[in-house]
Each structure stands twice: as structure tokens, then as C-alpha cells.
Amino acid sequence: MYPKAIWKYFLDINFFNIVFSLTIGFVLDFFWSFILFCSFGILIGFLAYNLFKKHEYYTYYNLGYTKSVLIKKVWTLNFLISAPLFLIYILIVKT
């Protein structure tokens, strides 16, 4: 396992993801930011990474990680992060 490398990929993908998800949240409702952060936003992050940083994939390939393994890890982490945040958001909105 290379946790620092996984963390780097996670941050890079989510940089694009968060910008996208928050922008949509501002326009519609922050409810959508949580939904997008662990769904369509990851796809946006993935596409942006492929556009701007695709050569860096060779770092991960050499460490034994394929694109599909990396994206599954990001999706899992995003889900684990956004689920409790979403619950907190709902609680705040209701009170």
C-alpha cells in the first residue's frame, strides 16, 4: 500500500470535483453539492485529471495501481466523507 500516493490522487481528483460540486451547489442548492461530490463530480474530476495530469498516471501504474482501482478508492472515500457531512447538513437545515 502507498497511502501517500493514494492521498495525492484523491486530492487531485477532488480539487476539480469540489470546484464543480460547489459551483452547482451555489446555483441550485448545497444539497446537490453532497450528491455530486460522491457521484457525477468524481467523473468530472476524472476527466479533468485526464486532461491536465494524465502523464502522472505512470506514477500510480508503477506503484501497481490501475485507473479503475484508483477511481474506486476515490469513490469509496468520497462516499464515506460525504455521507456524515450530508447528515449534519440535513440536521442543520431542519433546525
Partner: protein
């Protein structure tokens, strides 16, 4: 000793044969040089062996065990140095070293390698081409792969780093099998044990430097 065996490797691109039924064997402890004119399929060959480009046909075995192309990366048996730089440019050298090696002892091997102390605090984007190529090779070379595929490690590198890279490869060769392709044929020939040329999709053994002339890769020596 680990052995990489490739058989029946063929690659077509828009109905043009790039690689035609290539057979190849590489053992740990040897360096194999691959020559060929631009567009002859050298980089294609390495990408196929690393599993990032699909072959039309291939049988790949590592220590007699058949390995599918899609399993190559996750098997961690083969490392690959691509032509272009691949390290995150915004990070410092010491941060990149810790991405590749969690273990402090392994990190020290890189930190104490020749000349690394002179650039360890700089960002990747601030390295010279020679420093960058050397660092990439140090990082990939010290992972636990049995085989290394190197695409143009000597290209555009200043003489000082060429020598350092050649020494590093000779050191890595003790534990790994290395396949190297580069147009800087003199640098390659100094360190290789065997060589071949790819011409019209076919593999031609190169037994002496003059064979590169005979087969049209060089006009003269």
C-alpha cells in the same frame, strides 16, 4: 532468476502492421537494447509489455506463468519509464520520494544516492532534464519490480547525468532484467548485453554495431 517471455506479439494500427509476431526473452541480470527508426514500434512494444496498450495478439509469461496484459500493472513485476516526465511538478523532490517509498530505509537509499542531495529540496518543475530523468529512474529502479522497461532514458541528457544513469543501470541490472530503447545508440550499446532492431514490424538480432548500418538504422559508423 526471473524470466520474462513474450511470444506471438502482434500489433496492427489502421491495418498497418506495427509489430509482427515478435518473440522476446529477458532474464534478470541482463540489459537488452531495442533500436528502430521513428515510428518503427519501439515505444509501442514497451507500452504493450507494460499493459497500457492493447496488443492484437500476445502471450506473456513471467517465470513460466501466463500473465494477461490487464494483470501486468497490478502484478508489480514490471516497471516502466515513459518518454515524457510523469512526476507531479508541483511537489518537491523529497515529497515525491516519500510518495514512492513509505519505508524510511528505502527512502534513504534514494536520498543518499549520488547527487540527490544537490536537488532534494527543489520542486520537480525546477529540475534540469538530466536531474529529472535520473530521479525518475532512481524511483522506478528501486521499486520491487523484476523487470524495467525504459523508453529513451538518455535522450537530451547532459553528459554528466548520462554517465550517472549508465552506472545506475549497471547496478540495477544485478537484480533486474532491463529492456531499453533510445536513439542514443552509443550510450545504449555501452551497457547492453544483447540488442535487436525493429524494422518493418520484424525483430532483427544485432550482433555487432555494423549490423545497425547493414539494416539501414545508421548510414555509417
Amino acid at each position: 532468476m526471473d524470466v520474462l517471455e513474450v511470444d506471438q506479439l502482434s500489433k496492427l494500427y489502421r491495418n498497418k502492421v506495427i509489430l509482427n509476431n515478435i518473440k522476446l526473452r529477458c532474464s534478470t541480470g541482463e540489459i537488452i537494447g531495442v533500436f528502430g527508426r521513428n515510428g518503427s514500434g519501439k515505444s509501442t512494444l514497451l507500452k504493450i509489455l507494460f499493459g497500457t496498450l492493447k496488443a492484437n495478439t500476445i502471450t506473456l509469461k513471467i517465470n513460466s506463468k501466463v500473465t494477461l496484459q490487464k494483470e501486468i500493472i497490478s502484478s508489480k513485476n514490471i516497471g516502466y519509464l515513459p518518454q515524457h516526465s510523469f512526476l507531479p511538478k508541483e511537489l518537491k523532490v523529497r515529497e515525491v520520494i516519500s510518495l514512492f517509498f513509505e519505508n524510511g530505509d528505502k527512502q534513504d537509499v534514494i536520498f543518499y544516492a549520488p547527487r540527490v542531495s544537490s536537488f532534494e529540496s527543489r520542486k520537480i518543475s525546477a529540475l534540469s532534464l538530466g536531474e529529472l530523468r535520473y530521479l525518475e529512474l532512481l524511483l522506478i529502479g528501486h521499486l520491487n519490480h523484476s523487470f524495467l522497461l525504459l523508453d529513451e532514458p538518455f535522450s537530451m541528457i547532459e553528459p554528466l547525468y548520462k554517465e550517472i544513469i549508465a552506472n545506475l543501470l549497471m547496478q540495477l541490472k544485478k537484480d533486474k532484467g532491463i529492456i531499453i530503447t533510445d536513439h542514443y545508440y552509443e550510450d545504449v550499446l555501452k551497457i547492453t548485453d544483447r540488442n535487436f532492431l525493429i524494422k518493418n514490424g520484424n525483430k532483427i538480432e544485432i550482433n555487432e554495431t555494423n549490423d545497425l548500418v547493414k539494416n539501414g538504422y545508421l548510414t555509417s559508423l
